[in-house]
Symmetry: C2
């Protein structure tokens, strides 16, 4: 047998806990962590199928939908994005993509990877896409199959209004795809009421669960479009027709579900139900407001359209003369706090501060503001 | 807000532990379970990057390779299969696929999903593919880009010999892709020595880790072929060029790694190193032999090519007059033991019994044989 290049240098994992105030992962509540340690079950074990049933009910509550198809995918939020796009898009299909930040760009890129044409409706980073712009794109591209937007742009801290676009898209008889990776569980996005056809989120942000598991819901309109494809989806792993057979109809093997992540998500979803969606959303709003007031109190300037700033992700400009990396590494090393740097045009110019799920608490806001005050004073 | 369809019916997870003797997931050692509870880190936290470095070293040991690219993917073993195929295959590419069971069929299907042409070299379930058959296919399709085979066929319990095919494929200057989802960590598959270019496995089988995380290694030959693609991979989520940037070169964000799964895999890989690969493989062989002897002792007939039966997955015929479902549900309910039913042509006709990772122990063999003796006597 060959020898490994070198011996591993660590033994047990010894790292200290962090206060995770970046764009996710967020901290796990101990109940969620504990749930991961439940005994492993086979993927067709009757007890595991019952847990899956339970997860579907809890997801319907979270997404505020009656959709039957309300499941998890064995991958991160980006697997949710890829699945949402690739199951609908066939080569040559046009998709109108509203872009107000990095993740909208990625949506468009994924449309193109699967052979579709992305009709980009782009606004500046930090702004939101006007319904009139989407309408004009649909007028110019009447054959478009779908309109896709990101709700909470993790890259800019801005939330895209959805209601008007939802009505427009339904009138035009297109599909409406909304990415709620950043906002699901922390903002009010009622899927049915907003006329969203396909919606996905991730475990590790406001949902309060682990990374590596995506949540997705599709209504019958979108499942019908997917069922009418002229060729199979170009990705076997994320083929929702096959995955549906595992979760719903035949309980036929598709993949070996990551049990511990399903357990953890189950615990996180139960905590959402116990807290109540409305109080939970109010908590995210209150902490987000407190953070913004604190940052402004330090003399910092917030980024993005003031009317549509997200509660759970705040983008704040780095003051002149302050070094991004120095501040973030002092926060991490001296205070155990993680925040994130800026993305794209904001790289080196802004910080992104998340208050998501269990990380979203007034005590964390106070701790961060105090830490920033001390570091910026130096 | 809309109301959920119905209230969830469970509270905390209360299921009993199982003795998992199916084709995976296998039982987790308590050290592996405990590792999942380590504090969550951001995906670019220096401590997390160090853990990733460590995982890469441990994976090189497991795969017996010096490949730099030795990483995990945020998905199940099937994500490994999809990534291994879709990064290489461009529309029109021919791939010779050796098929000796269900997962070889799936390899061919995935080649076709990505626009390639699968040249199927197929033998009966339970047999292995002769090198001469692969050679004839390469003679008939000299432009083929790759030869792909499954090492351990979870569907038939048979292991494909690899050495001769490896030499042939290298002589012809093609890529050699081997699926070791079933066998990695439980059988001797030295990647470099066997001239394998692309190899992947899963966490939850003989590796002794959790499901939902795939392990993959690629050598420079295959990364060069991937780098020379004429168009981007049709799947963003599993684009290895992007994922490589996260694991190796730039440490650039690609996805939010499922931290707890990485921690658990890290613990499982450390246990492999502590046990030693050779003793671990010997343990799988010994327990597999013990199981086969026990089953034969009960008067049962083993399935598949006797020379190439796998140690970690045994396929055994169900005796006439014995009902598959009755026996398996009694095993699960009365003994807490999970075994699996047959696949494809063996559905209802065979059982598949796994001895993988921490589940692979003499005590589990004795317990199962005893339980089967009691049930079959009724």
């Amino acid at each position: 047998m060959t020898q490994p290049k070198r011996e591993p240098f660590t033994g047990e994992l010894t790292h200290d806990p962090r206060v995770l105030l970046g764009p996710g992962p967020s901290n796990l509540h101990p109940r969620v962590t504990r749930a991961m340690t439940a005994p492993i079950l086979g993927y067709l074990d009757p007890d595991f199928l019952a847990i899956m049933d339970d997860v579907m009910v809890l997801l319907r509550h979270l997404f505020q939908t009656d959709n039957e198809m309300c499941i998890t995918l064995p991958g991160t939020g980006m697997a949710g994005m890829e699945a949402a796009v690739c199951n609908v898009v066939e080569p040559g299909d046009e998709v109108v993509v509203g872009i107000h930040g990095f993740f909208g760009q990625r949506l468009a890129e994924i449309v193109e990877r699967h052979g579709g044409t992305a009709i980009r409706v782009e606004v500046d980073f930090g702004q939101v896409v006007g319904t009139n712009r989407i309408e004009a794109a649909l007028d110019a591209h009447p054959a478009a199959k779908m309109v896709a937007v990101v709700h909470g742009e993790t890259s800019s801290g801005v939330g895209q209004p959805l209601e008007e676009i939802g009505r427009l898209v339904r009138e035009r008889d297109k599909l409406f795809l909304v990415d709620t990776v950043c906002s699901l569980g922390g903002a009010h996005v009622p899927v049915d009421e907003t006329l969203i056809d396909i919606c996905y989120g991730a475990g590790q942000k406001c949902v309060g669960g682990p990374a590596g598991i995506a949540c997705i819901t599709l209504n019958d309109r979108s499942m019908t479009v997917i069922g009418a494809r002229s060729r199979p989806v170009d990705t076997w792993y994320l083929d929702l027709t096959l995955i549906r057979k595992y979760w719903l109809s035949e309980r036929a093997y598709h993949h070996t579900t990551p049990g511990p992540l399903v357990y953890a998500l189950h615990a996180a979803l139960r905590m959402i139900q116990e807290e109540g969606l409305e109080p939970r959303i109010a908590r995210h709003q209150k902490c987000g407001d407190l953070l913004k007031a604190g940052l402004t109190g330090l003399g910092l300037e917030l980024f993005g359209d003031p009317v549509n700033r997200l509660p759970m992700l705040t983008c704040v400009m780095i003051p002149d003369g302050v070094d991004d990396a120095t501040v973030r590494s002092r926060l991490l090393q001296d205070y155990g706090i993680e925040i994130a740097g800026g993305f794209g045009p904001l790289k080196g110019k802004a910080w992104r501060i998340g208050l998501m799920g269990f990380s979203c608490s007034e005590r964390n806001v106070h701790y961060l503001i105090n830490a920033l005050r001390e570091i910026l004073a130096d």
